[in-house]
Point group: none
Chain length 200, copies 4
DNA sequence: GATGAATGAGGCTTCATTCAT
DNA sequence: TATGAATGAAGCCTCATTCAT
């Protein structure tokens, strides 16, 4: 049998179509998850035929991987931008609130797709690897930036990693405002102080 | 339309059969996730026929819900037991390490099923509600216990909730030992100190 | 993912259903060939649902293989029966006409399925192997029988194999009566004499 | 409905393009059969776009028919050339070996495409008709040649036809050398003697 | 003429669920 | 209760063919 090759966009139209499919996948995976989405629906939402989807992607999972990559960029880039704007000397007290806001903002825009994609980590090795790589990249590069800004490099990886976990948890909870018995303003302060203390 | 009613096990044998199905579901959902498991396989693993599964459960999702309940019990009970053993006056420095170990232990036994079930929170409202209820129960009851043990009740919910998030994150990372650049012993200490400081 | 296992018929009904599917496949492959048949059509012709087809066969090709095996039996058995009836001493002149008739009879009943199956030899290794095995079996076993009946064993394999080729060709042509310029009665005689001469 | 007319190549370039497509079809049908080949792959192999294929051919089957015609020429022409070289008086003993070699040579170059095309005879009437016509042409014209060379015309068609069958079978077996228990040198001699005897 | 993107019907297969026994 | 055969809707993907450029 003949192996099929995925189209490498040559025409302008190609690029647009591929993007439309990715966008549709992004939207649908966000809304109803990977298993709640079928390829016909993706095509329909993208305004294309079912067949052409397989002109650009080898299979449904391939769409997922593309969506994942888009998502990862949406997370990584604004965060790094925030850090790269900083100049020495820095005051941790001032930076942490900025980062908290940034993380919340990122979560606000992407929480649904994050859940949809992250939930596949357990069953899809490639997805898992990409999430791992994201964590690694964030931890190590932010650590580097902080060191270059004069923060002590003592166990910096652990501190950054730990902080990231806290921030993510908080952002998630904050935007869903899940528990009525939680005062999120107070909690935000708790998060801030905890992180600030780590880097003192 | 006549609604089919799901069997209420009255006999001993019935209860055993139902339990076997739940166990099989538990095992398979852990191993390959909800979408990677089909009902025929559950029946086979349970050593029963496919048909009888629908004698005990209204549908596949119903098995999921039962598995979820089992899981929740497995998480809640040992944790409460740990806390209920405590007697006033307590020294936070002594208790936190115990709780850390307990949470790690729970995670070790249940991490796969946790992932499998939790990943459905985004797409299944009932699952999501149960996870929420778990968090609520844990937060509020542990807060009560701590208050009864003499811990200041000032923002206790936030403190407990925040601590739980940290503990979960850490336990997850710890058992997977995911990142080579992380010194988990150091991190464990960081977790401990952070939590201890909250309650001082 | 869980691997699917093909049903091993346990109930009476099972065996019947499986047979119905094989029969339907046999009929359809005969009529419109393997590629002209789809699984839905097989199921319909068998009077069963599409799904159950995959309860008995791993895929469409698996049906083909079963049909092939049935076909091979239909060819081999009557031919061997014919030879096994013979008792020494034999007169080649008397036997060849009998065999010619037998081969024609077999062809008459099976020519369409033979074409359908044989045409896949070129693209399906398993099918090819089975046809090869058929040829081998026929050649070697018939040779043995003939030797036991007193025929000289000098180059018996080549003689039998060559004769079989001639017989097949002739039977095929004879039943289709393809060419008006051919006198098939005369040709039949030519075939007979040719074979008789080989074994003299 | 307006019927689309297939391009009639008038320009040199057109002819070349059409030929490239036929060649690609020829190659692919040989390698993976008609059903294992798709038009996109034919176009790719031919170095043209998928669309233009339908400028030269009405559909995929049309390519097949063209390939078939090429094939038939490749078979017929060298065989006739061989016969046309002969001059009276001829000695059958001398000619048969030459023809055997010629048929083997033709088979060697074309066996794969032969299988691929011939396997469609059963399901495609036009293909079947062309193969029939080939047989007719070969039988009748070779018969004529032989008569003109002084061979007795008694049942000449049957003799030629029968011989052709034998030759084809043998050539096929010979080039694949399929059965280890067959001495192909001996068999070749058997084929030769059988045919020679027919014409004596 | 030529390109290659796009179409969409149709094929194969899975699986939650029901039914006859 | 229990069995496991049966159902059929629905999902993924292919590919001959058409169309916009």
């Amino acid at each position: 049998m003949i192996k099929k090759s995925v189209r490498q966009p040559r025409q302008e139209r190609s690029t647009i179509t591929k993007q439309k499919i990715i966008d549709a996948g992004y939207a649908l995976f966000s809304e109803v998850g990977y298993y709640g989405t079928n390829t016909a629906e993706i095509a329909k939402r993208a305004g294309v035929s079912t067949g052409i989807v397989y002109g650009y992607f080898s299979d449904k999972r391939d769409i997922l991987v593309c969506v994942l990559e888009i998502y990862l960029k949406k997370v990584v880039e604004p965060l790094f931008k925030t850090f790269k704007k900083l100049t020495a000397p820095i005051a941790v007290e001032d930076i942490v609130p900025i980062v908290i806001d940034e993380v919340i903002k990122i979560h606000k825009t992407n929480s649904k797709i994050h859940e949809a994609l992250h939930s596949l980590s357990g069953s899809d090795e490639a997805v898992n690897a990409k999430f791992m790589a994201l964590e690694d990249k964030l931890t190590l590069e932010i650590s580097d930036i902080l060191i270059s800004l004069g923060i002590s490099e003592q166990n910096i990886n652990e501190k950054v990693h730990f902080s990231m976990g806290i921030l993510q948890d908080f952002a998630h909870e904050f935007i869903y405002d899940k528990h009525e018995y939680i005062n999120y303003v107070y909690m935000r302060n708790m998060v801030k102080n905890t992180i600030v203390n780590l880097f003192k």
